[in-house]
Subunit: 138 residues, 2 copies
């Protein structure tokens, strides 16, 4: 399993460092749940906060993770499933944000279709967030 992490980093042309391996491992094990920045800090008590910021930024730029937006005003990150590259993200699945427990999960079966935007507008990315109550809170 460590091997897969190394492979992921390698395929995205990223240097393997302990920090990156740990963060990536956490995101993989999160299994479709988006993790907020402060949460990652708590999970990695010995890690430097600033380095974590930069690690996540790098991951995002290289198409490894994507930011998930919700109304909790905490930046959340989730692993990209789709074929995201350095140049373009293709995360077109929806996310569900539970208002009770605050968790955000990926809903891979709900994808965003093409929307008819006004003339002159171009869409490069879409975010679809459903808010409500999740199964363990209802």
């Amino acid at each position: 399993m460590d091997q897969s992490i190394v492979d992921i980093l390698k395929s995205h042309r990223l240097r393997r460092t302990p920090m990156r391996m740990e963060v990536l491992s956490l995101l993989i094990n999160a299994n479709g749940t988006a993790i907020a920045h402060p949460e990652l800090e708590r999970m990695l008590p010995n890690a430097d906060r600033i380095t974590l910021y930069r690690t996540l930024k790098t991951f995002e730029e290289k198409g490894l993770v994507h930011q998930v937006v919700d109304t909790s005003n905490a930046t959340k990150y989730a692993l990209c499933r789709d074929h995201c590259t350095e140049h373009q993200h293709h995360d077109d699945h929806a996310h569900f944000h539970c208002q009770d427990c605050g968790k955000t999960v990926c809903l891979d079966n709900i994808t965003t279709s093409n929307f008819q935007v006004p003339a002159g507008y171009t869409v490069s990315q879409t975010h679809l967030v459903l808010e409500g109550t999740c199964d363990s809170c209802s």
Copy 2:
């Protein structure tokens, strides 16, 4: 026009204070564009920042405005068009966030339909954000 502002506050059972009138007026004149918190601060140089936080929070709770999420990590607010109440928001229109100029506008003609969520999940609110380039930036 001031009258309409008074009416809106009255119908939502909110006391009319100078701060609320000003903020509401700005949001009405924004005409479908979501305004970020720091932007509002700049527009109201004499206003107390903390009061602004509480004003917006109150407005949101009473169904007057809704938060708009995007990747700019600045909380944005827009006037509710639909029939939002104290108890439930019904803003099911999409928002467009321009990556160049940073503006966020409401796309009233794009509405979110009903999505098939996993068993046990209930959806009370949806957020659909399209990101890309707007007409004045392209």
